[in-house]
């Protein structure tokens, strides 16, 4: 996998934001694969780890803004899991690859695009 980002996108915020980015013809790097989930809170640590094992250069979880999760606590849980995952990776010294959480609203396509751009830049700079 060369420089591929696996992005878990919640169907209430990030997924429609990504769609909107498409409708507006906003461009972002091609090396991203979106996996649609009903809530960021559905994403489990093993999903992130397996994506990294498969060779992903970065794994993103994108969910609703703080205080605006359709399922109240989903985005908070996702954030905690992402933090936990980073700790697990640090434990085995595999913390060079970004695992990050982004919060956005469904009408914020620019936030989706800038998240993808930001992570792509980090990947390029670390030479993957």
């Amino acid at each position: 996998m060369n420089g591929c980002i696996v992005a878990f996108c919640c169907e209430h915020s990030a997924y429609p934001a990504a769609d909107l980015a498409g409708k507006l013809r906003l461009h972002y790097p091609e090396n991203i694969r979106v996996i649609r989930v009903p809530c960021a809170g559905r994403v489990d640590v093993i999903h992130i780890l397996k994506a990294l094992e498969k060779g992903a250069a970065a794994v993103l979880v994108l969910g609703c803004e703080d205080g605006a999760c359709h399922h109240i606590t989903g985005n908070t849980r996702a954030k905690e899991r992402v933090k936990y995952c980073n700790m697990l990776l640090k434990e085995v010294q595999i913390d060079g690859r970004p695992v990050a959480m982004f919060n956005l609203s469904p009408n914020a396509p620019h936030k989706f695009v800038s998240a993808v751009n930001e992570i792509t830049k980090i990947i390029k700079e670390s030479g993957r």
Binding site: D44, V45, L49, E53, L88, L89, V92, I94
Partner: protein, 219 residues
């Protein structure tokens, strides 16, 4: 239930260092409920090991399996075929489960991946607290149902040490409640404060002769 906590990763990695194919074995009872050694933790630990060893250029192959209770011979026997394929077993069960595995598969090194810590219960999500020390001589009748052996930092049996901090907190660990304050309040609610005036003689801490054995009445 039994509460356990995963060992530091360094210890686990070191234990697994000589091996190229291992079985990561979980237990579906206590350690699963306290998020230390169930199926999910097995998955995560196996994944971490694979990632780490792959980065080192020394791949490890992991088989994963979780049985309902690792302290039951019959259930552990189900893992026979998988154990035969590996060089070592990494068990996420409590000490009882690890030893059952080790006894059944004597020819394979079995390593513990968790530290068994205490008998406890959930206080809130993800937080487990010690309730019982398995001391073999329960005194909960005299203390309104609050164990001074493990919930008092000093294990005192005859009232508080006098160092209780403001707010009823323990002198040794200000995050913890003074068990004797809790006992007092509980007995007060029940109108049984007279119990606090009874003096209990020094305790025989060898009430449980190690290793313990309990023979229940055969049904």
């Amino acid at each position: 239930m039994i509460i356990a906590e995963r060992k530091p990763m360094e210890e686990i990695k070191q234990a697994m260092a000589p091996y190229k194919k291992v079985l990561v074995a979980g237990c579906g009872t206590c350690v699963a409920v306290c998020w230390a050694g169930g199926e999910k933790e097995v998955e995560i630990l196996a994944s971490q090991l694979r990632l780490a060893r792959s980065a080192e250029g020394n791949e490890i192959v992991t088989l994963e399996a979780t049985v309902e209770r690792q302290c039951e011979k019959e259930m552990v026997e189900e893992l026979k075929d998988k154990v035969a394929e590996v060089e070592a077993v990494l068990s996420l069960a409590c000490g009882s489960g690890v030893q059952t595995m080790a006894e059944l598969f004597e020819d394979k090194p079995v390593f513990p991946a968790v530290n068994t810590t205490f008998i406890g219960m959930p206080e809130k999500e993800g937080l487990w607290v010690e309730m019982c020390g398995a001391c073999g001589d329960c005194v909960l009748d005299r203390t309104g149902g609050i164990c001074p052996i493990v919930r008092c930092a000093k294990g005192l049996l005859n009232g508080p040490c006098g160092g209780t901090r403001k707010g009823g907190k323990c002198e040794i660990d200000p995050e913890k409640d003074c068990a004797w304050v809790l006992i007092y309040r509980r007995l007060e609610k029940q109108g049984r404060l007279d119990l606090m005036r009874e003096y209990y003689s020094p305790r025989n801490f060898r009430a449980v002769k190690r290793p313990g054995r309990v023979q229940a009445v055969k049904a």
